[in-house]
């Protein structure tokens, strides 16, 4: 069978962000995936190491546009643990509300995009239409549609006044019905079943071995949710349940995300009821020496920040790890043996956020020195690549090591 090499990206309408993976394809079936990332590296760790704690929050917020409150959430918690700063109770509740509002609009965005990837543009338009009132709500509370600048070491920058409470409840009820409608439309549509079920399956062992996080892991039966396992902010004062599916295919990931929207709405409503009075910022003066780890369950998984502070107001070292950094290598396990038209959907099922991952590099062909490869060059290239793999591994195609 003639194998052709399909370079997808770095510029492809399917992907908002640049990321390039090369598929080795036999006819329509994918036999090998080569991942190249690195288009987005903006040296954020080096920049944050030269900014003090207040400026750092703004830099960290601009890592990713969709989860633009997850990184500050983790950064601020890491700084508070490093310099053991106290945070008032009301600030905890406001942080939980903003975190959950962002999870809803991020999941609605994903549902729309998934619909767009399989050509179902009406779901794309609906999903994004019901996301607009949410962004307006966030604009009312924080002043900006996406980069909220709400968080600060030691508390929150702005308070949510009581007048907004019933406005939030009204909009959340509207979103509850609409997501209900979308979930019914998505879950029992036979064509969607045909397109989503049984493709890109990530088994539980693979999920554990690749250390995937977030909905990708929960869709493969791994019980892991940072809000439940390592409770922080106000998540342990509000009861909600973790959603786990076992099939591990794209359909399970869609179900996990849709049901999580309902959980988030429940969390916000309860937080609004139980919101205590009190001031929202503990205005820390000095930071003690020490290390701090901050984790937060972002819409895509666990965001991890590590800060080492040496007493003055500039952190000595900031380590940032986005959820997609662990989820993207799992393409290797899920894309093998699928059709090209499914690969687009499988890579999107992980809801990769390449700006978060900020780890992108392009594999340049050494001998040709990225000269213009003609069509039969491509075929020759993938031929000897597959032959090399066949000899090396003795007829076994999947090589997990060289990602």
């Amino acid at each position: 069978m003639k194998t052709t090499k399909i370079p997808i990206g770095p510029y492809h309408p399917l992907l908002e962000e640049p990321e390039c993976f090369t598929l080795y394809v036999e006819g329509e079936k994918v036999i090998d995936v080569e991942l190249s990332v690195g288009w987005n590296h903006r040296a954020i760790e080096k920049i944050t190491a030269s900014k003090n704690y207040d400026q750092g929050v703004f830099v960290v917020e601009r890592i990713c546009g969709i989860c633009s409150t997850s990184h500050p959430f983790a950064y601020v918690q890491a700084a508070e643990e490093a310099g053991n700063v106290k945070v008032p109770q009301r600030a905890h509740f406001i942080r939980t509300i903003i975190g959950e509002l962002e999870r809803i609009h991020s999941h609605l965005l994903w549902v729309g995009l998934a619909g767009h990837f399989i050509g179902y543009n009406t779901v794309f338009m609906w999903g994004w239409k019901w996301r607009e009132p949410l962004l307006e709500l966030l604009e009312m509370i924080t002043g900006n549609r996406n980069h909220y600048a709400m968080f600060k070491v030691g508390g929150v920058r702005r308070d949510i006044d009581v007048a907004l409470f019933n406005e939030m409840n009204k909009r959340l009820d509207v979103i509850w019905q609409k997501t209900d409608m979308i979930t019914k439309a998505v879950l029992d549509d036979p064509v969607l079943h045909a397109r989503l079920k049984g493709i890109g399956v990530l088994s539980k062992e693979d999920a554990l071995n690749y250390c995937v996080v977030g909905p990708t892991a929960r869709a493969s039966g791994v019980f892991q949710d940072i809000r439940y396992c390592h409770p922080y902010a106000a998540y342990n004062q509000v009861e909600w349940k973790v959603i786990v599916q076992n099939e591990g295919d794209v359909f399970a990931k869609a179900v996990v995300r849709l049901l999580e929207i309902f959980e988030s709405i429940k969390i916000i409503k309860e937080c609004l009821k139980k919101m205590p009075e009190g001031e929202i910022d503990s205005r820390p003066e000095k930071m003690e020496k020490g290390d701090g780890i901050g984790v937060h369950e972002a819409p895509r998984g666990e965001v991890f920040h590590f800060i080492r502070s040496n007493g003055d107001n500039v952190p000595e070292r900031v380590k940032i790890r986005a959820p997609s950094f662990m989820n993207i290598p799992s393409f290797k396990a899920t894309c093998m043996g699928e059709y090209i038209s499914d690969v687009a959907l499988i890579t999107a099922a992980v809801d990769p956020c390449y700006c978060c991952t900020e780890r992108m590099i392009k594999v340049i062909d050494k001998e040709k020195n990225n000269g213009e490869l003609t069509f039969n060059d491509l075929i020759k290239l993938s031929h000897n690549k597959t032959r090399k793999i066949m000899e090396e591994t003795g007829k076994e195609f999947i090589k997990l090591e060289n990602i």
């Binding site: 640049p18 920049i47 703004f58 239409k129 607009e132 700006c355 392009k362």
Partner: protein, 139 residues
């Protein structure tokens, strides 16, 4: 020729092109297609390949790795085309404009000639539509 120029103004095909952004501007571009801010009213359509494109929406502060690709795609688009730098990253490297950033290849106009600058992080969809309308009148 004025008929063709009128047609060019009335049907701009937009190609979105992310050069190491924080993908907030990319999501705002997609917001333009949704029912709330429908740019199809002005005849604009998001196309997949630079060959079909008239407007090049460049988002993000370009890093060293992506700079050659930016030039490559710019040559690939059929002229006459408008190039728009979107967001404060595109206009002036935004928050990443420190000499500490070892991986920077400068804001957008270091790499390709830019016609429109749309500031804001992220720029509001209304701001983007206003910028595109201004670009149309400038043609």
């Amino acid at each position: 020729m004025s008929l063709l120029k009128w047609c060019f103004k009335k049907s701009l095909w937009v190609f979105h092109f992310a050069a190491s952004p924080c993908n907030n501007c990319d999501i705002e571009i997609l917001d333009l297609l949704t029912p709330r801010w429908d740019i199809e009213r002005f005849g604009m359509k998001l196309v997949g390949s630079p060959r079909h494109a008239d407007v090049l929406l460049l988002t993000g502060s370009i890093n060293k790795k992506i700079a050659p690709k930016v030039k490559e795609v710019y040559e690939q688009t059929a002229k006459p085309c408008i190039v728009a730098a979107l967001g404060s990253c595109g206009c002036s490297m935004g928050i990443f404009d420190t000499e500490v950033n070892y991986n920077r290849a400068g804001p957008a106009d270091n790499v390709i000639p830019i016609d429109i600058y749309i500031p804001g992080c992220p720029p509001k969809p209304e701001a983007m539509i206003m910028a595109l309308v201004k670009a149309i009148n400038k043609l």
